[in-house]
């Protein structure tokens, strides 16, 4: 299963719910397009919910970083929610935990944007 992405508004925060696999090819492309599309439409507070993502490879991580850069360069913020232990391990190995703000609780993550 490739990635499935849906977005919803919680106040002024756009939550992107992702599920499936974010890997090189269709999954990573869909992920990139979704974040760029939201950034282009002026969404500046993005919360990426990865709770239902079963697998991310280095291409998927690369797209997360690219999305972070795109949103930040537009004056916005991209934060992460609901990481599995495996995804947390990837952020540790790649030192990206120093780049991303990561939350386990959605309400807390939403409040952090204010």
């Amino acid at each position: 299963m490739s990635v499935k992405l849906t977005s919803r508004q919680v106040g002024d925060v756009t939550v992107i719910d992702a599920s499936g696999r974010i890997t090189l090819g269709e999954g990573a492309s869909a992920f990139r397009d979704a974040i760029r599309d939201l950034a282009a439409k002026g969404h500046k507070k993005l919360l990426l919910n990865l709770a239902d993502v079963s697998y991310i490879d280095s291409s998927g991580i690369g797209e997360m970083v690219s999305g972070f850069t795109t949103v930040t360069n537009n004056g916005g913020q991209l934060k992460l929610l609901g990481l599995s232990k495996r995804v947390k391990d990837l952020l540790q190995i790649t030192k990206l935990y120093t780049v991303f703000e990561v939350y386990d609780d959605e309400a807390e993550a939403i409040r952090s944007f204010r």
């Binding site: 890997t23 280095s58 690369g62 797209e63 970083v65 850069t69 495996r86 790649t94």
Partner: protein, 146 residues
């Protein structure tokens, strides 16, 4: 420690086309052998991801999706370890010239983390020129001592 089945050495050798379907195939074959050997779920995940990352490199950076070039895959299952060798027919590259993905100036680069992950997930990692041209990576994962 959980009981782990022991099996005699077995070797799989195959060639794959230079496309992303081959990445899935290589991962699938490695996962099948890892499960047979008795690696647990997390260990299987690590092996699968290491094989995936190295096969992506072989397809994308080595063979550059060239239909006339093949990926050479060997999987050797011994009593207490799994060895996976992935080779391409590309032009090779200077391994020492690869940017360090952990350097602060490289942290926000979009790519360049695949080999870092493969190295982190396996017990032995060796990248070298492939005899006859191209690049070859040798990955070894040992079963934890019971």
């Amino acid at each position: 420690m959980p009981w782990r089945p022991r099996s005699k050495m077995e070797k799989i050798q195959t060639t794959l086309d230079s496309n992303l379907q081959s990445v899935d195939k290589a991962e699938e074959l490695a996962l099948r052998e890892a499960e047979k050997l008795g690696f647990d779920e997390d260990e299987q995940h690590q092996i699968g991801m290491a094989v995936r990352e190295c096969t992506v490199n072989a397809v994308v950076h080595g063979n550059r999706y060239n239909k006339n070039k093949k990926i050479h895959l060997e999987i050797e299952r011994a009593d207490s370890s799994l060895t996976v060798i992935i080779g391409d027919e590309g032009e090779g590259f200077d391994f020492n010239a690869l940017p360090d993905p952990l350097s602060p100036e490289n942290l926000l680069r979009q790519s360049g983390r695949g080999l870092l992950l493969a190295r982190a997930f396996m017990d032995d990692f060796d990248l070298h020129a492939r005899p006859g041209g191209g690049t070859e990576v040798r990955l070894v994962k040992n079963l934890p001592q019971s």
